[in-house]
């Protein structure tokens, strides 16, 4: 054994490490030699992997990881990777996990073996082992692993180390994706992490929720208030960007949210210096404006702001900003085209940019900017660019864009189709474009759908066919010859418009045509036949024409044999058919039989465009089951299938025939009859044998379209190819004339306009554009749809979307069954709650051996409690006369799950299902949208903002108010006006309330009175300032003061400047370069009656003492009479409370804290407190930033942390209106001051 070991380590001397491998590969320059070298290396690695020594294996795996990057499959080493992962040494473990994350995937079967190893690593006492496991797992997590490890990961989300917490939070997203059932049980904790004291964890939680919400936004609407609060308080740009992006996804679902967002977003746009943040704000504002379809006047200001900021971006020399500016601009374009159109110059300028991506973006923008007025002009510019363009790809892109622009929304912007046809013809002259097919389909589309243009189109196409041989050499290579397909078809189909069919026919039968691709030749032949029919028809009219017919027949018999010899089957078949037809006709003609009509009848009937989805939308007739067998299913389908596979092909057709014969002949006849009947009544059935009536036959749809013949102001005959340029001039003249005419013949025009408007589907252009009358009667034949087509448009949704599984309602309370699966040793006891029983004794085994006993005891307690609670609930259910029986049926909110997550929360009631939605409504209804419920809320808030009264009083008022509502509606309206002012600064209050819900206990019976931390700072006749001081979590020496300025006067307040006399301890943070006595300007102005909030940051050194700072606000009052300079002094009070931040704490951590030696105790008594305990707690939590750790009857433990990391623990007991507070803190003077402040809070009320 020992010898073996020695031998092993001697061998190792000659092992290559990664560096040697890389060096070796680099020295073998030649590809072949290199491949050989690598394959010997892989052989060596295989040898190394067979060794027992783990370090050798790790080294080998390290080399494999490198080879994987070079494209070598290393899946054969998966098991060795698992071995290295399970090493106890961090170095090897990390290597193993790295290799696994690079090479494992859902199909790797050894992943099954890793579950226990990963669990062990996750629960390792070394945080880096845990970290490495989490990182690795995030890359190769499978549905099985997610199910088995979800619970362990969830426990890690409240790990003591933020490093682990943030990783655990992030990986939850992957777990949700793979195992959607885990979303609901884990979500409450994830939500909790939004308030995590560590900014990294907070950011991770925001990240995950944003990612979830992006896929299924509607489930996350109820989180909007929380995110709103984060948005207004966070200073981390990453978090802000994510939140702002999230709001962009939420606003389309809830327009009220948008209204609320506009103001803070515009403030951010004004204030931020980070371009990334600015850009995202602009983007979200755009999303908001899109969602608010009703344009309110002040929103045009926001649009202007956005466009203006974007213009700055586009004009920037940084290409990135330019690109993004254009991108965002295109979003505005969709809803507010006018505001973008004013920047047309800038966008056209971008077409000349050297950067192709920017040019393409600009093209996209142009697409949306066209109107009837400027289409010709823009396309003309684009045509110039087409000529200038260098690369073919860009030129092709231009070409498609021109066509897209013109054809968008059913040719909405084209006023003159002759112009469009000539543009298309011009485009065919482009060298080397790949888009011949696109041009061809446009030609066909226009010719078919715009009846009035057919004559012109045919003349142009005939010219095109004529000149085809000149171009064909060029054309053939590049695929532009596709246009000939369209040209031939148009000439054939609409041959009645042809000036000289014989000449065109000649052009189509030139020998050179046979060099064209087969499918085009086929069209040539077929349409030559149509032309021939036209010639025959004309031939009847006079003897002179008769000669022409003879000539044509001669021509055909001469030329067609070329096509009969064609290698292309289609061409050959058509040509020989046609040739026989010609010969037959020739015979008949010699007998003087008139065949013109019959031949024409061959091609009678008009083709109408059919909507692309028409077939799909044909409703299934009642009683028709498409899945049912028409005949009885074959008796032995399987064996027959086998036979037919193995048997010769000959036998196949015979088998089914025999089967059919079994069906009764009579029955068959009857069915056939029925079917015929059915078909006759069915308008959608294409009748095979309808005799064609003479002449051209209009189908139903076309007949109904009124075709108005207008004296065309443009000559239809154009000698030679049309050039599009002249149309621009002609069009201008025409419009002028039109305008003049319009004045004269109002009555006549009315009629005409009505019709032409009726014909067009999309008439949504700006108003002024409606005046521009199209030159042709543009009866765009609308696409045919079957009658009673199903109006469904859901087809677009992909059923295989992996994110669909995460479309889960998160507001419903958790049901008992919804727990994460937990590893169990014994069969679970059915009486106990499964989650608690299974998890606790297992998971943190290594972590907390000491506290095990304590924990067990606690758990027992908890179980009891949760049982008690259940009982309580039952009582309540019985006591309450529940009007809706449904409520009782619904599963009771499950305390079990909560218990697993955090013991402290287990005592909290899960809010009722509808609560979040109501909260959201409540939160959103702060906008001046008059509604009853809101009215009541405002009423209570009015009475409670200054002085939070006891709930009895509050609810009394509410009751009184609501009764008032019913009686005196008029009065209510008056009140409302008064209150509007108040409402505006209720916005922050609401935010605060959110935090109450997070930090404290909710009770259904007694609603908490609304509270506010904003206290009056100073007030005079012009302005009122209220402020709130809050510690900044992210920085231990900073305090943020939010001041709401309210303009009480009827004048305009501007140039507000805020200044504070710094003390040694506290200093106002001024921008760089400003002196210590300079004042800060408030970043907004206040119109009369408006309030707005500004934030000021102070740096504080010591936080153990409260202190006051003197300050002044100077401002200019501007009224009609003139303006005056005013000044208001104030005293800013930094209480010790303001240095505390609401921080959640779990009871185990709390117990440890209390045990630690450096905590100093103190206590306080409050007497004569009339509040219920519930409200008392809420008040302490709210006003002094505590969170409840545990609450038992009338005793509760609370926790908070100062921005400098002092822990403060409170034990609040309540007996007979007397409150005793025992407190512990590691800083005694801070504690003393704090207790004084708490006393003060209660003595005031």
């Amino acid at each position: 054994m020992a010898l073996k070991k020695v031998k092993g380590s001697i061998d190792r001397i000659f092992d290559k490490n990664l560096q040697d491998l890389v060096r070796g590969i680099r020295n073998h320059k030649d590809d072949e030699v290199k491949a050989k070298y690598i394959s010997t290396c892989i052989d060596e690695i295989k040898q190394e992997l067979k060794q027992e020594n783990i370090s050798v294996k790790a080294n080998a795996v390290c080399k494999l990881t490198y080879l994987q990057m070079l494209g070598y499959d290393i899946s054969w080493a998966a098991f060795n990777i698992v071995e290295v992962m399970s090493s106890s040494k961090f170095t090897y473990k990390r290597m193993g996990y790295l290799a696994a994350s690079q090479s494992f995937h859902d199909g790797t079967d050894v992943i099954m073996l890793t579950t226990n190893q990963i669990r062990k690593d996750l629960n390792s006492p070394n945080q880096y082992d845990t970290g490495v496991a989490l990182t690795g797992l995030s890359c190769f997590v499978t549905p099985d692993l997610s199910r088995d490890l979800a619970n362990d990961i969830m426990t890690l989300m409240s790990h003591t180390k933020p490093y682990i917490r943030k990783k655990a939070v992030l990986i939850m997203y992957k777990v949700f994706l793979k195992y959607p059932e885990s979303l609901r049980p884990a979500f409450p904790r994830l939500k909790e992490k939004l308030d995590d004291p560590d900014p990294g964890v907070q950011s991770a939680a925001v990240n995950v929720i944003c990612e979830l919400a992006r896929r299924n936004p509607k489930n996350y609407l109820s989180l909007a208030p929380l995110f709103f609060k984060l948005m207004t308080s966070s200073t981390n740009n990453w978090v802000l960007i994510k939140i702002i992006k999230l709001f962009g996804a939420l606003t389309p679902l809830e327009p009220r949210l948008g209204k609320k967002l506009i103001e803070p977003l515009t403030n951010l746009i004004h204030s931020t210096s980070a371009m990334s943040l600015l850009y995202e704000c602009v983007n979200t504002v755009i999303a908001v404006l899109i969602s608010l379809s009703t344009g309110m006047p002040n929103h045009s200001a926001s649009i202007q702001l956005c466009v203006q900021k974007l213009r700055i971006l586009i004009e920037d020399s940084d290409q990135n900003l330019k690109y993004l500016g254009l991108l965002a601009m295109s979003k505005i374009l969709k809803t507010h085209p006018k505001s973008v159109q004013s920047h047309k110059d800038l966008i056209l300028q971008c077409l000349d940019d050297k950067d192709e991506s920017i040019r393409l973006r600009a093209l996209d923008l142009l697409y949306g900017m066209v109107s009837k007025k400027n289409l010709m002009e823009i396309v003309k510019k684009l045509m110039l660019h087409v000529d200038k363009a260098e690369g073919t790809t860009y030129r092709d892109e231009l070409l498609t864009k021109i066509i897209d622009i013109c054809s968008q929304s059913n040719y909405q912007y084209i006023t003159n189709f002759e112009w469009y046809i000539s543009i298309l013809v011009e485009l065919t002259r482009l060298e080397g474009t790949r888009h011949g097919h696109l041009i061809a389909s446009q030609m066909l589309d226009v010719a078919v759908r715009v009846k009035a243009i057919r004559g012109f189109a045919v003349s142009q196409m005939a010219l095109l066919l004529d000149s085809a041989p000149l171009l064909s050499g060029n054309m053939q290579r590049k695929g532009i010859c596709e246009v000939l397909y369209a040209a031939a078809w148009i000439c054939g189909e609409f041959s009645e418009y042809l000036e000289d069919p014989v000449q065109t026919l000649e052009a189509m039968l030139r020998p050179k045509v046979s060099t064209l691709p087969g499918h085009i030749q086929a069209v040539y032949v077929q349409n030559a036949a149509k032309l021939f029919a036209a010639v025959l028809r004309n031939g009847q009219q006079g003897s002179q024409e008769g000669a022409a017919v003879q000539e044509t027949i001669q021509l055909l018999t001469d030329q067609l044999p070329i096509f009969v010899q064609s290698a292309d089957l289609e061409v050959q078949e058509r040509a020989s058919c046609f040739l026989q037809l010609v010969k037959y006709i020739q015979k008949l003609q010699q007998k003087d039989v008139d065949v013109g009509e019959e031949v024409t009848a061959l091609f009678a009937g008009e083709l109408n465009p059919v909507a692309p989805k028409a077939q799909k939308k044909v409703p299934v007739p009642e009683g028709l089951d498409l899945d049912a067998w028409i005949n009885d299913p074959p008796s032995e389908p399987e064996s027959e299938d086998e036979k037919s596979k193995s048997a010769f092909a000959k036998e196949e057709p015979q088998q089914p025939r025999q089967r059919h014969r079994e069906v009764d002949e009579k029955e068959l006849a009857r069915r056939r009859e029925e079917r015929k009947q059915e078909q006759a009544n069915n308008p959608f059935y294409i009748k095979g044998s309808t005799p064609a009536p003479k002449g051209y036959q209009d189908t139903m749809g076309v007949e109904h379209i009124p075709v108005v013949q207008i004296d065309l102001s443009v000559p239809l005959k154009v000698p030679g190819m049309a050039t599009s340029d002249k149309y621009v001039k002609i069009e201008e003249e025409r419009r002028k004339r039109d305008r003049a005419e319009k004045g004269k013949k109002k009555e006549k025009k009315k009629k005409r306009e009505k019709r032409s408007r009726g014909d067009r589907r999309n008439e949504s252009g700006p108003e002024s554009e409606e005046d521009i009358r199209p030159a042709q009667t543009v009866d765009i034949v609308t696409e045919e749809m079957p009658e009673n087509a199903l109006p469904s448009d859901d087809e677009d949704r992909d059923p295989n979307d992996p994110y669909r599984a995460l479309d889960i309602d998160l507001d419903k309370p958790l049901a008992e069954s919804e727990t994460l699966p937990v590893r169990k040793h014994r069969a679970p006891d059915p009486v106990k709650s499964p989650a608690e029983d299974g998890e606790k004794p297992e998971a943190p085994q290594e972590l907390k051996k000491k506290s095990k006993k304590e924990k067990r005891e606690k758990e027992k307690k908890e179980e009891k409690k949760s049982k008690e609670e259940k009982k309580k609930k039952k009582h309540r259910h019985e006591a309450e006369e529940d009007p809706a029986g449904e409520k009782e049926k619904a599963p009771p909110p499950a305390p079990e799950m909560e218990a697993v997550q955090s013991p402290s929360k287990s005592k909290q009631e899960v809010p009722p299902a509808s609560a979040p939605a109501e909260d959201l409504d409540f939160w959103l209804s702060n906008e001046p949208v008059p509604s009853k419920s809101q009215e009541a809320v405002v009423a209570t808030s009015k009475s409670t903002t200054e002085e939070p009264a006891d709930p009895g009083q509050g609810s009394d008022i509410e009751d009184a108010k609501s009764s008032k509502h019913k009686k005196k509606k008029q009065k209510k309206e008056k009140e409302e006006k008064e209150k509007k002012k108040k409402k505006q600064h209720r916005v922050p209050n609401q935010e605060e309330e959110e935090s109450v819900q997070n930090g404290t206990v909710e009770e259904e019976e007694d609603p908490l009175p609304p509270m506010s931390n904003y206290c009056l700072l100073a007030e005079n006749t012009y302005i009122k300032m209220v402020c709130d001081v809050q510690g900044n979590l992210q920085d231990s020496s900073r305090v943020v003061v939010s001041v709401i300025f309210e303009n009480k006067s009827s004048s305009f307040l501007k140039s507000m400047e805020f200044n504070v006399l710094d003390s040694l301890n506290a200093k106002l943070q001024r921008p760089e370069g400003a002196g210590p006595h300079d004042s800060l300007s408030v970043p907004f102005q206040l119109p009369p009656g408006v309030s707005n909030e500004a934030r000021f940051v102070f740096s504080v050194q010591s936080i153990v003492m409260p202190q006051k700072l003197k300050g002044t606000l100077t401002f200019i009052v501007k009224s009609d009479d003139g303006s005056s300079h005013e000044k208001l002094d104030f005293k800013l009070h930094f209480t010790c409370t303001s240095y505390l931040t609401t921080t959640p704490c779990y009871s185990d951590a709390y117990a440890k804290l209390l045990e630690s030696a450096d905590m100093k105790g103190s206590s306080a008594r409050l007497q004569g407190v009339g509040l219920p305990f519930q409200h008392l707690l809420a008040k302490i939590c709210f006003h002094h930033h505590f969170s409840v750790v545990e609450k038992i009857n009338s005793c509760a433990s609370l926790y908070s942390r100062s921005i400098q990391g002092h822990h403060i623990c409170l034990l609040v007991k309540y007996t007979d209106q007397t409150v005793t507070i025992d407190a512990k803190c590691d800083e005694s003077s801070l504690l003393g001051n704090l207790l004084d402040e708490i006393k003060l809070t209660f003595s005031q009320s």
Binding site: L18, L170, I171, N320
Partner: protein, 192 residues
């Protein structure tokens, strides 16, 4: 979400590949080739965003890249990421590399690809941004490399001792190590 992170040099040689979605190895190589093809033909003064790249993504995805000296750093991200934010993240990542390797150059990435992976793991995890604060990243990386050192590293002392001897036997002592000034010069960009 970030779908992939690729680092390759001016010749398209991969220096680090990190896919957050499974692709088979040959597909990965194809993606690298295609991405290189797309990115390398762009001038340095054009914008750093690219749409398309048929292999990776679809319309929701973008390539965001930066070019430093001999290396391209390419992130393939979807629309939930802020474009400018990712550009800054690349900068943070490269600055972190610069700190951890002390004047990072392409050779550091060539010979220590594992270490680069470990650094990246502290920045992006499973396709999501984990940390953007450079000091925090560097601190975590350093703690872990100290742990590794205390364990003796991957190829422990004895192997290194003889590597000198081994090199003597090898006829091809690396000559191409001196490629001139290939340090990735990290320009100090304006902060995020």
């Amino acid at each position: 979400m970030i779908k992939a992170i690729l680092i390759f040099n001016n010749h398209g040689k991969p220096r680090l590949t990190r896919f957050y979605q499974y692709f088979a190895e040959d597909m990965q190589q194809q993606i690298i080739r295609e991405t290189f093809h797309l990115v390398s033909k762009r001038d340095d003064n054009v914008c750093n965003f690219l749409e398309g790249g048929s292999l990776i993504g679809g319309s929701d995805y973008k390539l965001i890249y930066r070019h430093y000296a001999t290396l391209y750093f390419v992130f393939c991200v979807d629309s939930s990421e802020s474009e400018l934010g990712i550009l800054d993240l690349i900068q943070v990542f490269v600055e972190t590399l610069d700190k951890c390797f002390e004047n990072v150059c392409e050779l550091d990435l060539i010979f220590h690809v594992d270490k680069v992976h470990y650094i990246l793991q502290e920045v992006v995890m499973g396709g999501m941004v984990l940390e953007t604060n450079m000091n925090e990243i560097v601190a975590q990386v350093e703690v872990q490399s100290r742990m590794e050192k205390s364990e003796g590293g991957l190829s422990a002392a004895p192997a290194r001792a003889v590597s000198a001897v081994k090199n003597m036997n090898l006829p091809e002592i690396p000559r191409n190590i001196n490629i001139g000034d290939i340090n990735i010069k990290v320009p100090s960009l304006s902060p995020f």
